[in-house]
C-alpha cells in the first residue's frame, strides 16, 4: 500500500506525494549537501519547468527542466562510476534534468547543462553529475 504525504511548501503551496516518489540524492547538491530527499513536482501551469522540492525543508526548491526541450541533441555520456552509483546499466536508462536559474526577465532564464541532475527513475536515485570537458555551459539560455 502506498503511503501518501502532504507538505506545505513555501512556493507551491500544499503538495501531495507518495513516499515511493521520493528521490534520494545521497550526496545532496553541491552547496546543499545536507538535503538528500526530494520530490519532483510537475504542475501544468509551470510546464515545461518542474520543481525539485526538498521534503526536508519546505522552503527549499529548485526550478528544473528536461534539457531536450531546448537542446535537442543533449546526450551526455555517463562514466561507469556514475552508472554504478546510480545502479544503472546504461546511460540511456537515465533521466536528465537541468537546474534552472531564473533572471529578472524570462530572457535571462538559464539552465545548467554542465552539471545535470541525473536520475535513475526506477530506483528513485539521483546525483548532480559534473560533466568533463567544455562542451556544455553552466548558464545555457533556455529561451534562445
Amino acid at each position: 500500500m502506498k503511503k501518501g504525504r502532504t507538505m506545505n511548501t513555501a512556493l507551491l503551496g500544499e503538495i501531495q506525494f507518495d513516499e515511493d516518489a521520493i528521490l534520494t540524492i545521497p550526496e545532496g547538491l553541491p552547496g546543499f549537501e545536507h538535503y538528500t530527499r526530494f520530490v519532483i513536482v510537475t504542475l501544468e501551469r509551470f510546464f515545461p519547468f518542474q520543481w525539485l522540492q526538498s521534503v526536508e525543508d519546505a522552503n527549499l526548491s529548485f526550478p528544473i527542466i528536461q534539457p531536450h526541450f531546448f537542446c535537442a541533441d543533449y546526450r551526455p555520456r555517463l562514466s561507469p562510476k556514475v552508472l554504478e552509483f546510480l545502479r544503472l546499466e546504461r546511460s540511456e536508462e537515465a533521466e536528465f534534468y537541468s537546474i534552472t536559474t531564473i533572471g529578472p526577465t524570462p530572457q535571462e532564464v538559464t539552465a545548467n547543462l554542465k552539471a545535470p541532475l541525473v536520475v535513475n527513475p526506477k530506483a528513485r536515485l539521483g546525483k548532480q553529475y559534473i560533466l568533463e570537458g567544455n562542451s556544455y555551459s553552466l548558464r545555457h539560455p533556455v529561451l534562445k
Binding site: L11, F17, D18, A21, E27, L29, P30, G31, F32, V39, I40, V41, T42, L43, E44, R45, F46, F47, P48, F49, W51, L60, S61, F62, P63, I65, Q66, H68, F69, F70, A72, K81, E84, F85, I99, T100, T101, I102, G103, P104, T105, P106, V109, N112, K114, A115, Q128, I130, L138, R139, V142, L143
Partner: protein, 96 residues
Amino acid sequence: MLILTRRIGECITIGDDIRIKLLAINGRQVKIGVKAPRGVVVHREEVYERIVEQNRLAAQSAARAPVLDAAGMMRRKLEDEPQEHGSYEEATHSSH
C-alpha cells in the same frame, strides 16, 4: 597547512585509501593523479565552486511569477516547433 616537497612519480597518501601522485610538470602546469574510494568526490575546485554558485542562484531565484512567465514563453516556443519535441503532449499529463 602541511607543505610537502615531491618529485615526479612520487605520492602522498591521505588516510588509508586516498593516494595523490605527481605525474608531470610542464611549465606552470602540474599533472596530478588522484586515487580515492568510490564515495569520495574529486573535482577541480573552481568548477565545483561555480556549480555551488549556480545552485544557490537557482534556489534563490525560485519565485513563482518569473517561472510562470518563462514557462508561458517556453510553451509558445515549443508550439512553434512541435515536431522536434515528441514528448510534449505526454509530459504535460505526467504528474506526481
